[in-house]
């Protein structure tokens, strides 16, 4: 009995050498991905808490666009019993043009600040408080990387007509301004240097208030109900989880790939096990006939696969540690991570989970042995009484189909179960390739631009309208004058352009008959295209008493088109009728749009959105922006894509960078699986292949038959993969984009997504299969004796 046990094991190891190696590889890879990614996500989540503790993030943060309301706000805070302490910190606004070496800020607002604040303190890479000496500046990693700066490099700032030179001393970990998702960046100096620079500076000085409160929610709501016109933003600690969630995207993607690899491993395992059992039917039958118990027979197979899975998981565990460290290192550029000692424990748990899960599945797969009677096994699976009718096609009825092509399709239809692994793998790989591709296509689409209130028909956009030396505009008159001035300047150079802009301010609206006050970002259009927006229902406000709200606000406050809201605009209380609603990303989907007829000259603006430049041109936005930068360097010219990129942080860059390696990796993976499966098929069908040779089939035709089989599997899997990918777009991707505040239609480039990429997959699979069928050359007609 022992000899037979050993013989089966030996035969299995010899016959399925490549399957065993691939299985080992898959288990190893999935363990690496799962263990390192799970520990990375835990590290980031725990690290964020540690980071917030060390940086001393306050319960609530309020950002004021100027210092005029400082006294009033502090008085209000003093009167709030739940507010325990507060500190306001001044920051001075500068532009990228004020910094030496064509500084690239990726659309972020830039500020100068001093170290030593109480809340949201900037730290060094070790998590210690930042200490700077005179002449030193600290910069966040994102800005350093984007501008190719290193510690020790010099930076010059132009403030109030004077030039200040500093040396970069530290790459800072700045929880509030260091993440590109925040759309802000700051340069930090010692208190004395900062005071010296900004003392005579006319630039806007914003104030960031941090305060601790016993009831953050109540305080947030109370602040919003006040009429602080300079209040630009207010949020609690939860905003940081959102800012840093994108640092987990790569890890999350790797977890998905790891889970897919485990699923594929399981299917290979099932295929390999059933193949082995079929091969060993006779031996199993003999063992059963001589009285060996089912459990003992199952152990033969389980021991081998357990050893294989355990070896793969242990190697995976060992490799997951350096991989996890590498992933943590990339995240730690943005934040201060806590103690990573627990990561090893997580890696061990993940690796053990892989072993337990895969082995449990092995036990389930070998359950089939119980059902095989001794006589069935001896008859190699046939009881001699039961026949199952095949589900194939008829060759003679397929008049226009070649024999090779027919046999390929017929094989799949007759043995659907056998091709499930491939079918599943191709489907998943296709979805894993197309979903990021569609994400990128959407991020670069007109649909995305329109969600950021950018008119896709614009020739180009302007990010800054102020002339050289001018302070940022905070009223509509300045903006209107600027638009006319720039139009004249453009006309002087031969550009007949029409400019418009959306002025932004925060207005208190009383909704539901004075029961609730909301303070959304309000867009007031100046110029013909200043109010560009695609309305979901109703229409744009036109008359003096009309307004529109975003869908999120309408739903949250149970508002309908035709309802009224009241607000104090231009110094008097007004009633507005809601004419429509829309869905966009402005202020995370919570904004209002005023009519262009109302007089807003008395209102203090918090800023303005990208100015739209309409003109006749044959140039693309990028070409025109580049040309304008040269001809009118005093202004900032951007494309719709620049504006989108500035708002979605580095996510697009990360996905863009991952797209090609991930496609290549998936392509290699499916090529490997195709190769392995084809080798298994050839071993299994050696007799049939030999028979075809005996009746005169050329080896080349036999190889073509096997390749055609794979081509059919790819084509059939695409029939399912394309709708599956569309479902993922609809139910997964759309919801992810909705986090930013609005639903949008996922954009797909059909030729690229549904033709080019499947074609690339097909070519890879055909190449791998053709390579695998090389072993047909070693099969002779006389090998029929090994027929199936």
């Amino acid at each position: 009995m022992g000899v037979m046990w050993f013989e089966i094991l030996k035969k299995d190891l010899r016959k399925q050498k490549s399957v065993n190696v691939i299985l080992l590889l898959f288990i190893m890879l999935s363990t690496i991905f799962l263990a390192s990614s799970v520990s990375n996500i835990c590290l980031v989540m725990n690290g964020l808490e540690t980071y917030m503790e060390r940086a001393n993030v306050s319960d609530v943060t309020a950002v004021f666009g100027g210092e005029d309301e400082r006294e009033a706000f502090e008085r209000w805070l003093d009167g709030r019993s739940e507010v325990t302490e507060y500190v306001g910190e001044q920051l001075c606004e500068i532009t990228a043009d004020d910094i030496s070496g064509s500084f690239e800020a990726n659309g972020a607002s830039l500020y100068l600040g001093a170290v030593g604040g109480r809340y949201a303190r900037p730290l060094d890479s070790d998590g210690n408080d930042l200490v700077l000496r005179a002449g030193e500046v600290a910069v966040s990693p994102g800005l350093m990387e984007r501008n190719g700066l290193r510690v020790g490099d010099g930076l010059q700032f132009q403030v109030s007509g004077r030039t200040y030179r500093y040396r970069i001393a530290v790459e800072t970990r700045d929880i509030m301004f260091g993440n590109e998702m925040s759309g802000m960046g700051r340069f930090l100096f010692c208190r004395e240097d900062y005071e010296e620079m900004v003392s005579d500076c006319a630039n806007t000085k914003i104030v960031v208030y941090g305060f601790n409160t016993a009831d953050p929610e109540k305080t947030l709501a109370a602040v919003r109900q006040q009429g602080f016109t300079l209040l630009v933003n207010i949020y609690d600690r939860s905003i940081y989880s959102m800012l840093y969630v994108f640092d987990m995207i790569v890890a999350a993607l790797l977890i998905v790939i790891g889970l897919c690899l485990i699923l594929i491993s399981l299917m290979i395992l099932r295929f390999s096990l059933s193949f082995t059992m079929e091969e060993n039917y006779r031996e199993i039958g003999v063992m059963k006939a001589i009285g060996m118990r089912d459990r003992a027979i199952r152990r033969i197979y389980l021991v081998k696969y357990f050893a294989l899975v355990a070896a793969g998981a242990v190697i995976g565990f060992l490799l997951s540690m350096p991989v996890g460290k590498g992933m943590a290192a990339s995240v730690s550029r943005n934040m201060v991570l806590g103690d990573s000692a627990g990561a090893v424990g997580i890696n061990i748990v993940c690796s053990a989970a892989v072993i337990v899960f895969v082995t449990a599945m092995c036990v389930a797969f070998t359950g089939r042995l119980k059902k095989i009677s001794a006589i069935e096994a001896i008859r190699s699976g046939g009881s001699g009484e039961r026949y199952q009718r095949r589900r194939g096609l008829s060759l003679y009825k397929r008049k226009h189909m070649g024999t090779v092509s027919f046999l390929g399709l017929n094989d799949i239809l007759c043995n659907m179960k056998r091709y499930l692994v491939l079918f599943f793998t191709f489907c998943i790989s296709f979805v894993l390739i197309t979903v990021p591709l569609n994400t990128l296509t959407t991020m670069e689409s007109d649909e995305m631009a329109s969600k950021f209130s950018l008119n896709p028909d614009a020739a180009v956009y302007m990010d800054r309208l102020e002339a050289e030396g001018e302070a940022p505009y905070h009223n509509t008159a300045d903006l209107e004058n600027a638009l006319r001035r720039i139009e004249r300047e453009l006309a002087g150079q031969g550009y007949e352009a029409s400019l418009s802009v959306g002025a932004l301010c925060f207005i208190n609206y009383t909704v539901n008959d004075e029961e609730k006050v909301i303070k959304p970002l309000t867009n007031y259009p100046i110029g013909e295209n200043g109010g560009y927006c695609e309305y979901s229902a109703g229409e744009a406000p036109r008359l003096e008493n009309e307004i529109a709200f975003s869908r999120k606000i309408m739903e949250a406050n149970r508002l309908e088109i035709g309802d009224t809201v009241t607000a104090s605009v231009g110094g008097r209380e007004r009633r507005f009728i809601i004419t429509g609603y829309y869905s966009d990303y402005m202020q995370l989907g919570e904004s209002a749009r005023l009519n262009p007829a109302i007089d807003m000259s008395e209102e203090l603006l918090s800023g303005y959105w990208k100015a739209t430049v309409m003109m006749e041109t044959a140039l693309s936005q990028q070409e025109l922006a580049d040309r304008m930068k040269q001809q009118f360097p005093q202004y900032e010219w951007v494309t719709a894509q620049d504006a989108i990129d500035a708002n979605i942080g580095t996510t697009k860059d990360t996905m863009s960078a991952m797209q090609l390696p991930m496609t290549v990796m998936l392509c290699l993976l499916i090529m490997l699986i195709s190769l392995l499966m084809m080798k298994l098929f050839i071993v299994r069908e050696k007799g049939q292949l030999a028979m075809l040779q005996s009746i005169g089939w050329r080896r080349h035709d036999i190889r073509m038959w096997l390749v055609m089989r794979m081509v059919w599997v790819v084509l059939l899997s695409m029939v399912f993969a394309v709708p599956l990918s569309m479902l993922c777009d609809r139910f997964v991707l759309r919801n992810i984009f909705a986090i930013m505040g609005a639903e949008l239609r996922i954009q797909v480039e059909p030729l690229r997504a549904y033709l080019l990429y499947p074609a690339v997959l097909l070519v890879g699979i055909v190449a791998a299969t053709y390579f695998a069928t090389g072993s047909v050359r070693r099969i002779n007609a006389s090998d029929m004796k090994i027929a199936e």
Binding site: S394, M691, D701, S782
Partner: protein, 253 residues
């Protein structure tokens, strides 16, 4: 004309570093339209001889001429084409593609060599005639697991005949069949031979071999003797069997 002329044919296998000379300078000639049997004890080289002369295996030395054409110098593709268009094969195990019906298995070699709808129509006509002659028309659409061994072997014969081969090589064609089915299969082979097809058949069965015109006795890789029984006739069956038996006993069978 010689359908097959084998001269000094040798086949050597190397097993566990030991040379095993399975065929040693075999010489034989088979005339067109003849039906010859190859007999001999187990391991004497009968099947190897059949596989080597039909191009399914390569010869170590010697020559094989197929209707005057030298086969040993042909490329693998040329040999495949010969097997597809001019040779037919019937084996002891009824090897067929299990994903195809009986009919599709029969027409498969012909479809593979055909081009165009017209040719396929002709093949279908030929297949129907063949199946009717072999008595398997009613199982045309059946799966290979749904018919008896005899029907399956007759389907194999039909497949071997579909391209109108010049010669049929049969390796123990009745080895896996019962008495009744064996008789039916041999009747078909005799009928094909009467219609002009050359048949070379390896068998252990004296009853089967007695239906051949000539029988070669092979021992230790060499043709030791041959016996001429003359054209088969049903009424002289018993006498042929007796004669063959006596001859075999003389050879130590």
């Amino acid at each position: 004309m010689n359908a097959l002329k084998v001269t000094d044919l040798c086949k050597t296998y190397i097993v566990n570093r030991r040379q095993n000379n399975v065929l040693r300078n075999v010489n034989l000639e088979i005339e067109e339209g003849e039906m010859v049997g190859i007999m001999g004890p187990s391991g004497s080289g009968k099947t190897t001889l059949l596989y080597t002369v039909s191009g399914m295996d390569t010869a170590t030395a010697g020559t094989v001429r197929f209707f005057g054409e030298e086969m040993t110098g042909l490329s693998a593709n040329q040999v495949s084409d010969l097997r597809l268009r001019r040779m037919g094969f019937v084996f002891q195990q009824m090897y067929m593609l299990k994903n195809l019906s009986i009919y599709d298995n029969i027409v498969l070699p012909a479809y593979q060599s055909a081009s165009g709808k017209e040719q396929r129509r002709e093949i279908n006509e030929r297949a129907k005639v063949l199946m009717t002659k072999l008595g398997i028309s009613e199982v045309a659409d059946n799966d290979i697991s749904e018919v008896s061994g005899g029907q399956l072997q007759r389907a194999c014969i039909a497949r071997s005949m579909i391209n109108n081969p010049k010669i049929i090589f049969a390796d123990e064609p009745t080895g896996a069949l019962n008495k009744q089915n064996s008789r039916e299969v041999m009747k078909e082979l005799n009928r094909l031979n009467e219609e002009g097809t050359t048949i070379m058949m390896v068998t252990h069965d004296v009853k089967v071999a007695s239906r051949c015109e000539r029988v070669f006795y092979i021992e230790d890789g060499n043709i030791r003797d041959e016996m001429d029984l003359g054209k088969y006739a049903e009424d002289g069956e018993r006498a042929r069997e007796r004669e063959l038996n006596n001859w075999l006993m003389r050879l130590g069978w």
